[in-house]
Amino acid sequence: MTNDIEEQLTSGMRQEVAGVAFGSDVLGAATRRHGRRVALQRTSYAAGVVGLVGALAAAVLIGGPGASTPGGDPAASASDSSSPSATGDTPQLQLASAVTASENVSYRLKITTGSKEDPNAWGTAEGAWDPARSTGWLTTQNPGGVGYYQRMVDGTFYVGSSGSTTWKQEPNNGNLEYADALGGATGASADPKELFAALREANAKVTKTGARTYHFESTRTYDDKYAAGTRTLVGDVTVGADGRIAKVSYLATDTSRVKPGVKSPKAGLTLKSDHRLTLQLSDYGVPVRVERPKNVIVAR
């Protein structure tokens, strides 16, 4: 009987998995999770582009009285208080005013990322986002031709990819995963909400370079449990005729030293990194409609 049951078990296993094939893009999902882990590490080490999220979150007027209704007239809602041409304001206040007008209203976006030498090297992502409804989408086209798709429908997050017939519903904090979409290359810095926060940063040096263009420079030091270092952002902002942010481009450079006791990366290492990012925002107030995907696997 012993041999029989062993043979039947072997046959049963073969029968069970005959023709089994992936129903979802497992490699893509692993890549995204890996990218997220890298992004989180970078955020921990470098405090993100803006690492300001905590410090400045209070200043972000989510759902505040200035919020616009999707489909409303963005120019109308921005014109009363947000024109960067308001006289008497410093460039920093003018920029802050444009940021305020840009928050809490839906928009289309396009993100391009790359290195210092090649600004387009790491791919592009396009999408739309309605912060009031936590609804939007983001499609990433990587240089290798693989597309990654994110959808958020009323705060429920789905990811998919080209070549896969299924989507995964994943736990999420209610925001599209910009760092994830771009392979972890940008940390959290591609998220307009966090970029807006960065532009409000008190120690950023802002100069006006044209009627609606600004240059900014910001240097932050940080010292957390993993590393101590310096993060520098140098970039330009264009404000549209509607008084809202139309384009942000910057070069971020980071230099840090890993603290004793940290296993990975090795303690004592000096880490240097840089990336370029361009964020274009348009069609403020656009209605954002996203279809809930079919054929969804719910991830634990």
Binding site: Q8, L9, S11, M13, A21, F22, A30
Partner: protein, 174 residues
């Protein structure tokens, strides 16, 4: 391109060997969804240690599948293990062998993870006891005793079956 440079050859490995890895993972977890999650976890670990894994990346993935299967289950709250005997059909109808195999695979999914891993290594991968011990990082004696306990429990589950009715020739002799 950046991804391709960083994990060169991984997409080809998954395309060519993914189904085989998934089959092992399905047997280790008891479901396709669980198997996909397990393969994904192994791929993430490979990406994390990419520069330290030289040579046989499929071997690394396969070992990781087993270790994750055992560790993940160990880290969860232990499920009550209820082994229910699977009754054979009343009248032999020519599909008894099929049913017995299904019953065995179902029973396999109820075994503790280490017993399951050992049985998958021995009877799916056709590993020797020494090879199974190396993959699981335990002694040959442990593999022998674990396999014996696993088979005993499978035998209990299918005790009602008359094995004489089942053609052994459908199995593959090792």
């Amino acid at each position: 391109m950046r991804w391709k440079r960083r994990f060169e050859g991984l997409d080809i490995l998954v395309a060519e060997r993914g189904s085989s890895l998934l089959a092992t993972a399905v047997l280790l977890t008891g479901s396709r969804a669980g198997g996909e999650d397990l393969v994904q976890g192994a791929l993430e670990r490979l990406m994390r240690h990419w520069h330290r894994v030289h040579g046989d990346k499929e071997g690394y993935l396969r070992r990781t599948l087993y270790n994750l299967a055992v560790d993940q289950w160990r880290s969860r709250r232990r499920r009550p293990e209820v082994l229910t005997a699977v009754e054979p059909p009343g009248q032999p109808d020519g599909t008894d062998a099929l049913h017995l195999r299904q019953a065995l695979v179902q029973a396999l999914a109820t075994l503790p993870p280490r017993q399951r891993a050992v049985l998958v290594l021995r009877y799916w991968e056709q590993c020797t006891e020494a090879e199974a011990a190396e993959i699981l990082g335990c002694s040959i004696g442990t593999v022998k005793s674990t396999a014996s306990r696993g088979l005993t429990r499978l035998r209990e589950v299918t005790a009602a079956w008359t094995v004489d009715n089942v053609p052994a020739s459908n199995g593959v002799k090792r």
